[in-house]
Subunit: 711 residues, 2 copies
Amino acid sequence: MLQATASVIIALLMGIVGVGFVLWQTQRVLSHDQGNAVMRKIATAIQDGAGAFLSREYRVIAIFVVIVATVITLFLQWQTALCFVVGAIASAGAGYLGMYVAVRANVRTAAAASRGLHEGLRVAFGSGAIMGMAVVSFSLIGMTVLYLIFTGNPAQLTYITGFGFGASSIALFARVGGGIYTKAADVGADLVGKVEKGIPEDDPRNPAVIADNVGDNVGDVAGMGADLFESYSGSIIAAATLGAALGSDSAAAFIGLPFLVAAVGVMSSLFGIYMVIGEEQNVSLAVAYEDMSVTGRVTHFLRKQVARINENASLEDLLTALRRSVWGASVVVLALTLLTVLISGVSFNYWLVILVGLVAGNAIAYATEYFTSYTEKPTQAIANATQTGAATTIIQGLAAGMMSTVLPVLIVAVAILLSIWLGYKADGTIASGLYAVAVAGVGMLSTLGVTLATDAYGPVADNAGGIAEMSHLPDEVRQRTDALDSLGNTTAATGKGFAIGSAILTALALLAAYVTAAKIDNLNILGPTMLPGILIGAMMPYLFSALTMMAVGKAAHEIVLEVRRQFNVIPGLMDGTGEPDYKTCIAISTESALREMILPGSLAVVVPLVVGFILGKEALAGLLVGTMSSGFLLAVMMANAGGAWDNAKKWIETGQYGGKGSDAHKAAVVGDTVGDPFKDTSGPSLNILIKLMSIVSLVFATSFGSGWLSF
Amino acid sequence: MLQATASVIIALLMGIVGVGFVLWQTQRVLSHDQGNAVMRKIATAIQDGAGAFLSREYRVIAIFVVIVATVITLFLQWQTALCFVVGAIASAGAGYLGMYVAVRANVRTAAAASRGLHEGLRVAFGSGAIMGMAVVSFSLIGMTVLYLIFTGNPAQLTYITGFGFGASSIALFARVGGGIYTKAADVGADLVGKVEKGIPEDDPRNPAVIADNVGDNVGDVAGMGADLFESYSGSIIAAATLGAALGSDSAAAFIGLPFLVAAVGVMSSLFGIYMVIGEEQNVSLAVAYEDMSVTGRVTHFLRKQVARINENASLEDLLTALRRSVWGASVVVLALTLLTVLISGVSFNYWLVILVGLVAGNAIAYATEYFTSYTEKPTQAIANATQTGAATTIIQGLAAGMMSTVLPVLIVAVAILLSIWLGYKADGTIASGLYAVAVAGVGMLSTLGVTLATDAYGPVADNAGGIAEMSHLPDEVRQRTDALDSLGNTTAATGKGFAIGSAILTALALLAAYVTAAKIDNLNILGPTMLPGILIGAMMPYLFSALTMMAVGKAAHEIVLEVRRQFNVIPGLMDGTGEPDYKTCIAISTESALREMILPGSLAVVVPLVVGFILGKEALAGLLVGTMSSGFLLAVMMANAGGAWDNAKKWIETGQYGGKGSDAHKAAVVGDTVGDPFKDTSGPSLNILIKLMSIVSLVFATSFGSGWLSF
């Protein structure tokens, strides 16, 4: 087991390096200037709102954590409960830090954008990088320290599944609560502000405008971070657990591999981040290249990798800069994992599996981009359908969303098939094939530090634009923040691709770990309780989405009433002399998001337990398969339909089909509004539902029997 | 095998009785008067359009049938190909007859409604009964004759799977082609007529109005009929096949049971139909009840069962009349099957299984009604959401549709679980449990003759209303046809509940038969190709729905252009002096429906074969499970969301939230239009997709190997 322990210690050390970067970079971002007094005032309001929401949300989650930890202690053992609590705290900590920085980086991005485009990008992306690296390193440190505490005994790996459960719980509430918050505020602000009062977006007279800006952060930064924290941790735990079960002679190498891949992933991500935020330097050859020392040549090479972005950079240029950083990190991770695989003595096939994971993640991201970008046919077809009204816009959008599931499903199916086959060929069993699926998941997420940075950067740029608008900064600043914002919308597709792809691979690996842990011998798909389990499982994402969509509707309705009330009773609000009461809108969003997240959140934990106890452990496996397959499809459909409607509206706003204010635009706004809860609440929450249900089952695997009906 | 052959012969005889009823009833319906010259002219136009569509559709399908029959002969054997062709012809024949009568009963219903409400109901329902009994008896005769031809040897039951395949193929094209036709014409007529020109629905000036009325028949009569023909045949074939595999000592009874249940179902359905269309008679006790002969008492009892409907009957009264007939048939079928089970010597548990099937079918129908009726909360919540515009209407409708999946899934899951458990307890194997699932499916559909009548009656009443409107019949007539139409909308929920419930049970039974036929030993859900199969399977309903929804959009667009063109070039069309060219709109609907049905229809046949050959027979089982679970959910969601939007609009039209013409109504119209392809094209087609993919796999079961990847 020495090799496993050594790998874990290496991962721990890289986690500490990651934390070092996070601290250094946080201080660096916060040192930027915060602009003028108006900007600072708006930013403070957003910071206060976000802080208030997060601390209230964490208090609610704390109750849940205490209850679940007690249940785990009573029914299982205290070690798992401890890991559960640590997982919850680590995830919450990463989310808190990421958001703490994001709501401070927004105003600094706006200020930096006054000086130049690359300056703005560097601050915004730098703050995204803090979120990305915090997620990766907090997760690594948490898991490795727990592993080392529990003597490194692979049998005790089951305790560490508690860490994943804790992380999942936070993720679910953060995604659902944050998702409801952000869309309630957004829809509520738009319905009264834009539609009824005819004032523009981000207008400071709108009482819900600050809540809207807070929402971007609590939904997209904290929510997405917790989501991927969970996938990252879950994939490593699943791989280690499956690796430990593969047989004692090479178990150490199998357990160690995911940790080593994660460790080199940290380095690669740091390289990728450096490519964007490194200081631009003139790479003049003071000495001839041939005469340089090795260090000199490396330094020269590294300097050349820093993105160079000038003032007139197009969206395409900015996109290239971010893509180069993700791809750069991928190349580095492939090189380093090749070394790792060769040194650790596992089959070369596992490196191919890592390659499969990385390629699949990027391919899904590409497919997502194709189906949601307004330069491509599917979104343009939606824009075209706006000409015959809202109904055809919705039909076309739903159809496009359904169509967009084909490629991701085929990519994931091929990735699973190849991984199982490569693992099977390497070690001769289907179990080694399933281990390979987990490794593919780890590979897909190895560069998470930088891919999450490209995603978490978006809301910061979006907020920066809002602040620039509200504080009446010059047009050129607003143009720069708009460019950064558009970039964020496009890179969001990447994040979503990785989030859903990794969720499926992780969930499958967790399912395999569950089946092993529950000692299920016969998992015949025609077993007596299997199909009922699958059907109920397939229904869960629908029930869950119904609840979250209705929650957004209810919460938005409350915001609408409040905003209308303020416009009625506050004198001079419309002509800018009255002062809107931002805090009440923030309080309403907070209250309703917290209230509405309880039911769907609890269902995700309770249903697997109920099915496991009543219908038995085989039915529970069926439940997980049903939720996984149906949830995958629904999640992709909702996310892509939502993204495509959003961009179809933006396409029309560039002047197509009559541009802003035309009938076509009105139809497009209907599509966009329907898409809001699709893409930012219900859709992404399904990723977590899939993983959380799997990990709950894994944690309680040994408790389930054969159910109430005897066969 | 004598017992099996005897059962089959009884079923054949009851099939012949059914055909006798169909002929007698057809002559009876056609003998009603056809009203005035205007009515006859409109009716002739509808008849011509429907006839033209069906004969062109059948010509396209004939090509498909010839190709597939050739493939079956080459790769399997000519016997299966023969059964395939017979199945296709029997289904097409029932569909043709049902529609032939429906497009003649519509004008007779309108004429009969001039004389009274019950008169109208009797003609319309009588025509629905022809469809219902034609489906049941054509299917029974086809299967039993083929069974007898092939010497009654259970090993040759596999040939008869070809019959199911033939029926499925017709069903798919009828549903998809008819579904595209009806919604293209409907949406196209409304978008120009109601929205652009401001003329009412069913206005004879609208050039697409006849196509719209034709659509009701080709979509709802022929489509629904072929759908249930397929479920009915499939459930009997699956039960007989699984029964034959159960072991030789009682195989004869197991093979015979589904045929006997179907046979007594014919009698029960006839009784149920009689309860609605029997002549009303005064049941005066001329002789004291005590003094009557047995025959006299039976006659007296039967006479009392005929529904009595007076002129002022409310919707509730009419509904009660139809429900009594369905429930009456159910009671009779339960009594007769109890006798059958006791006589045939199988376990009493199988009677309980039939009970489970019937109860489940009715329970799903009830749940469907709850979620789509405007007197209930879910639909009223959608109506409420119209106040804040189209976007919230759509969000609320989708959420309600998703929520509406919970009950049907739980009902089906419990029905499957109970059936498997009862069958397992009866004969001790999981195989007998799966046989029981098939028997539950047969039980659910045993009263199909009458349940389908309540469903196929709807479009006739709808058409009658259109004819009454177009030929300017007095208001009271229109009120009566409106009452009949509302009734049809409500009973449609019943039909949809049975269609989807039976589709799942049948598909599961077919899957079990496939697994047996393909000789798959290990169907581990974590097998190497299983999860890729499941994911691809889960994707199929999304791909299929995307294609059909886009097809409706495209076809409707062509109709819109043509209707606009006619209003532009035909002088006096708007003021009623010009003559619209109905035929061109009919031709466009026909062409585009036939063109657009090819791709989704072929996919359903080709994908299982491709997956079976490339990924192997285990992956194909996974594919079927994935399609079944994901398709079930999507079908229920789409059907119920569509129905709820439709009724939310109707609720507003009763004067709620400002009534017709208000902003709320406009938002409701958007919801209704989105719901059109949901509930009448994509949603119901999924039932057939599920069954067709299963039966294709069963027919080719012996051809698949272990796929290209070696494990």
